[in-house]
Structure formats: structure tokens, C-alpha cells
């Protein structure tokens, strides 16, 4: 009997996993003993880290898009469609439209994050972000003509995609404005919901002095409650009000509703064993990347490493062997600290990050990785 693995989500986690399985299970796929289907609601794969560079005019959206069909091994069945229901009892997925349902023996959810700016009144009207394609281009149009006033970057809620990106944005904006001779005319303020500038205390301790050095104002314990586009102010639950001329906000994030409706976890994140990545509430279901509620950052490197673990576990299960591969929390990030310098961190569940001194070499390493990312998606790197 053919075992059917269905992966939902063609982002980093889902695409790397599909290619990992194509390689790992090649004999079984060739023999027809296993079938792997990758489901995505868009024919394209999107590499979101490119969006950080778009507002500064350094990258175009197309730099972050490739056809999934060009990235995924031919042994994988690619299905473009939107799932409308996950039934973990009958192990079946329903689709929107007249597309037929699909049964699975193993399901992997890699559905990522969605943005919910509407949670904060006024944010949709006047808040900019670089966490979506439309947001990044609209912010670019604003930023390129912004020459003076208050630039506020507000991190509204966690978890959000790429926890380092808000720090990167203010560091890059500071440097970019200095290079253009505008920094003295622009005040930059960074807000964060808890009592430090980043969720990870080690990264927060590293970043805070850099912000002081660069004259980036900081407001901690700032949980945005509302934005008033008329007066151009953002107000926090803690009672602080900030004026802005350009508001860049990391909107609230959540997973997809289908996950909550399927009883797999709250807010669209799947409750998983943080080592095996198996869903707590259903059999034969895995989650990875942003979708898996493990407490590690929502980052592409996490999805990449987790895909390798899930790939090994699925291959073991399909071959009737005990699945022994586990995820240790490994996370790896470059952090831009300006337009031509970056730091680097690597950490896991047991070992905290220790940011490397910023250097031009690390900046170029980050840009080089962004270019070679497509090899990661293809399962080659």
C-alpha cells in the first residue's frame, strides 16, 4: 500500500522538507510505495527576508519570488490550492472550490504566520511594515521621500517573523539616514512590549548599548493599543503616547484559523513536542517552522533545521523503524547592524546566543546567503 505524506505550506519549511523527502525516500518514491504531496495556495515560493531591503531601495520583490515548480523535485506532487478543513480523525484534507479532498497517512503543517494589523485600531490606516510585499513597497515609497521628523518603529506583540528584523530595521535606517546626511533631522524611536529591547535577554543586552551609541530612543513596556492617524500618535496600554511622522510597526501575528478549528492549538500555532515536532493533539501530524509552537524564533533557519528532523523521522516511520531524530532548538541568524555591517548568532534550547562583533564580512555573508538561499529551498544547502 502506498504511504501518502502531505505537506501543507510551500514556504521554507515545507519546500525544504519536500526536497529532503524526495532525496531521502528516493527508492520508495521510485517504487510507488510512497507518495509526497506539497500543497500551497500560491504557485510561487516567497523568500521573505528580501523584504527588509526593499524599503531602502536595495532589493526588488521579484528577488524574493521563484516558481515552486522550479524549486521542488519532480518526484513530489505539487498541488496549488487552499485547504478548507483539516480532519485529523479521518486523516483527510478538504479544499476550497471543487477540488477533491485528499487523504494522508502523515500530515506536516508548515503554514507559517499571518498578519493581523486590524487588532490595533488605526494601524491599518497609518502603520507601515516590511512584513508583506505590499507593506514593503508602500514603506519604500514613504521612506525614500522621508527627510525629517519622527520615525517610530513599534514591535506590537510577539511572536512575530524574524525577531531580529526590527533591530535590523532601526540600525539600517540610522546608518542609511546618516549616509544621506539626514540623520540629524530624523529622530528614531524603537518600542518593545517587554522591559528590554528584544525577547532574548542576551540579544537585548547586546543591542541596547548600540542603540544608545546611535541615539536611537527606546521605549520598553510599550504595548500599542491604538494609532490615531489624525494626530499621528501611537498610544500604549501602559499609557505612553508617541508622536510619529512615519510609523513602522510589526503587526500582531497569528497562524491560520484551520489549525485552531482542527483542535491542534491556539492562535493558529500547533502545540507540539518541541523535540519531536509531533502534534500533541493528533496522531501522524507534525508541524514545523512558525506553525510549530516551540518557543524558538519564527525564522527560516529554524524551519530549515526542523525540516531535516521531520524528514528523518518520517523516513524512519515509513520504513518501520523507530524515529530517533530530534530538534535541539538550533537557530542561526545574521543581524544587520547598518548598511554595511552585520552580526551573527547561533543558539539552541540549551546554549544562549552570543552575538558576534559586527563586521563588513558578516554583512556580505548575509547578502551571500540571501543569494544562495535558493539552494537551501532546493534542498542542496
Amino acid at each position: 500500500m502506498t504511504e501518502h505524506v502531505v505537506i501543507v505550506g510551500g514556504g521554507t519549511g515545507g519546500t525544504v522538507l519536500a526536497n529532503d523527502l524526495a532525496d531521502r525516500l528516493e527508492p520508495e518514491l521510485d517504487a510507488g510505495d510512497v507518495r509526497v504531496t506539497l500543497v500551497n495556495d500560491d504557485p510561487d515560493h516567497v523568500y521573505k527576508p528580501v523584504w527588509l531591503y526593499v524599503p531602502f531601495g536595495q532589493r526588488e520583490l521579484d528577488d524574493g519570488r521563484r516558481r515552486l515548480a522550479d524549486l521542488v523535485d519532480d518526484a513530489i506532487d505539487l498541488r496549488i490550492g487552499r485547504v478548507s478543513d483539516i480532519d485529523t480523525e479521518s486523516q483527510r484534507l478538504q479544499f476550497h472550490g471543487s477540488a477533491p479532498s485528499v487523504g494522508y497517512d502523515y500530515l506536516v503543517l508548515a503554514t507559517g504566520s499571518t498578519l493581523e494589523p486590524d487588532q490595533i485600531p488605526g494601524l491599518t490606516e497609518d502603520g507601515h511594515n516590511y512584513y508583506s510585499e505590499s507593506g514593503a513597497t508602500e514603506l519604500r515609497d514613504e521612506l525614500l521621500s522621508f527627510t525629517e521628523g519622527d520615525l517610530v518603529l513599534s514591535v506590537i506583540g510577539t511572536p512575530h517573523m524574524c525577531p531580529a528584523a526590527p533591530l535590523e530595521f532601526v540600525f539600517m535606517a540610522d546608518d542609511w539616514l546618516r549616509e544621506r546626511g539626514l540623520r540629524e533631522d530624523v529622530d528614531i524611536t524603537y518600542t518593545y512590549p517587554i522591559q528590554r529591547v528584544h525577547g532574548n535577554p542576551h540579544i537585548a543586552e547586546w543591542a541596547r548599548p548600540i542603540m544608545e551609541e546611535r541615539d536611537i530612543q527606546v521605549e520598553t513596556f510599550f504595548n500599542a493599543e491604538s494609532v490615531d492617524p489624525e494626530t499621528e500618535t501611537i498610544t500604549s496600554m501602559e499609557g505612553t503616547e508617541l508622536d510619529y511622522d512615519l510609523l513602522v510597526a510589526i503587526p500582531p501575528h497569528r497562524g491560520i484559523d484551520l489549525i485552531e478549528e482542527a483542535g491542534l492549538g491556539d492562535d493558529g500555532w500547533v502545540d507540539v513536542d518541541k523535540h519531536t515536532l509531533e502534534a500533541e493533539a493528533a496522531e501522524n501530524v507534525y508541524a514545523l517552522g512558525d506553525t510549530a509552537d516551540t518557543g524558538v524564533p519564527n525564522a527560516g533557519s529554524v524551519a530549515h533545521y526542523q525540516a531535516g528532523v521531520v524528514g528523518q523521522r518520517l523516513a524512519s516511520e515509513i520504513r518501520g523503524r523507530p524515529a530517533t531524530a530530534t530538534y535541539d532548538g538550533k537557530t542561526l541568524c545574521f543581524i544587520e547592524t547598518g548598511m554595511d555591517a552585520a552580526s551573527f548568532v547561533e543558539f539552541d534550547y540549551e546554549n544562549p546566543p552570543s552575538p558576534a562583533p559586527p563586521s563588513e564580512k558578516l554583512h556580505w555573508s548575509k547578502l551571500a546567503y540571501n543569494e544562495s538561499y535558493w539552494l537551501t529551498a532546493r534542498g542542496l544547502l
Binding site: 512590549p193 504595548n223 518557543g295
Partner: protein, 78 residues
């Protein structure tokens, strides 16, 4: 044991910092003034995070109950 009846509970046991505090903030965001939210957390950091935030935001931390392997924080929204 307290006899406070919470209006809502957030179970953040197992979550790493700052997860429990952010979960509490999220729940308080949608609560009415005067509502009491109970946060269950087994993260040590919550013992400092929650009182500090409650004071900053003007909410009242009514009590902290020590259970066997976690703490229960009762926060009243201002």
C-alpha cells in the same frame, strides 16, 4: 489558596520567556476594566516580569499562588 474567581485564564506553562508575559498582555488587551486574568506559568522569569509589567501598566497583581511546579498570577485590569 485564593478564593478569587478569574474572568479568564491563560495557561502559559511550558512557554519560554517572554511567552507567558506576552500571553498575559494579549489576554488583558481584550479584557474589560476590572476583569481578573489568571496566568499559569512555570517560567521563573515570570516572577519578575509580571509584577514589573503590572506596575508599569497600572494593573494590579492581586496575588501569586505557588503551586507544585508552576505559579498562578492574578492580575486585575485597571
Amino acid at each position: 489558596m485564593t478564593d478569587i474567581e478569574p474572568d479568564g485564564t491563560v495557561d502559559a506553562r511550558g512557554a519560554t520567556c517572554p511567552g507567558p508575559l506576552m500571553d498575559l498582555i494579549g489576554k488583558i488587551r481584550g479584557a474589560e476594566s476590572g476583569d481578573v486574568i489568571r496566568l499559569l506559568s512555570d517560567n521563573e522569569q515570570s516572577l519578575t516580569d509580571v509584577p514589573e509589567w503590572a506596575e508599569e501598566a497600572g494593573n494590579e497583581l492581586l496575588t501569586v499562588e505557588e503551586r507544585d511546579d508552576y505559579n498562578a498570577f492574578y492580575v486585575e485590569k485597571a
